[in-house]
Subunit: 208 residues, 2 copies
Amino acid sequence: MNLSIKKQGLLIVISGPSGAGKGTICKALIEKEKDLKLSISATTRQPRAGEVDGKNYFFKSEEEFKRMIEEDAFLEWAKVYDHYYGTPKEFVLKNLEEGNDVVLEIDIQGALKVKEKFPEGVFIFILPPSMEELRNRIKKRGTESEEEIIKRFKSAYEELNYVSKYNYVVINDDVDRAVEKIRAIIIAEKCRVDRNKDLYLKIREESV
Amino acid sequence: MNLSIKKQGLLIVISGPSGAGKGTICKALIEKEKDLKLSISATTRQPRAGEVDGKNYFFKSEEEFKRMIEEDAFLEWAKVYDHYYGTPKEFVLKNLEEGNDVVLEIDIQGALKVKEKFPEGVFIFILPPSMEELRNRIKKRGTESEEEIIKRFKSAYEELNYVSKYNYVVINDDVDRAVEKIRAIIIAEKCRVDRNKDLYLKIREESV
């Protein structure tokens, strides 16, 4: 008897404060684990030079986006300044059903909304190695005013309160090390008893 | 600031029905991860040729063993036929306090007793690849009568019911693969948010 049952994939949510380095980690993770599917966001903002529809984003008109909201087609969505951003359900659910693991890189507010709809996801909080380092990283982006930097830093600091809503915390002191931890988390989660009820039933049913 | 706080070690309980291969897996795991400490059982049975006190077992007189029971010096103990077997608390707790991870290879009844006293342990259930394979493995030991084999197999089958009390289930279809899964589980468990409350508090306290 073959016990490798076709199972639903895992939704792996990589989240954390701005400046923690979740983007870099996700990129390195996807490069190591070619089978992982990266969830693609939808947005109403204009494509920037080089951005490809269906690869970087699903580019939508405001009308289309609002229709999707009405149709409950998002795992989460938000309006940031003048533009809408959201995580289309279809891509995620279809891949999970097919047994693919899906990675979702998302800010903390978004992750908490996803958790409401999809509590069986694996929620990983990326921490900067220190608050000092976080401040340096926000500064280094260099696109913001001093005032904006302080505001972003304060908001990142406040967001640390939400770590308790997550399953795992990974310190981004070294990208490779952080990626190895996330790969281990994925392997371990697939071994969790509560994700293997079918396996247990199947082995029990085997004629003895 | 250094965020690598000295933390208590993990108690990793490797358990499962007789014939699942937990002994082989533990041996291979310890060889890969030299820093893991293997818990040593105490017993009142006589040492066999080549067995060393304090390495294979702590050999105790019945009087000593009973005194240890009275002193609550065991995480669990049992009497099997004429001999006592038990897991001395001291070795396990001392190593955990020092930040070492401790591996405990134990049968299912024992693991359930350990869980009562130490629910924060990591409980891993080793499954044979199939019930047929389990029967073959029990047979291959060749030391038991046909009747004894059927009895052991039935008992192993009944014991599968207890998998739900564990955190993880690992199929022993290949020893190396099973060991890799256990290593991943150890890494992942160290990243669990509920094992990192100190870290979170420390980063929050950092002067900003």
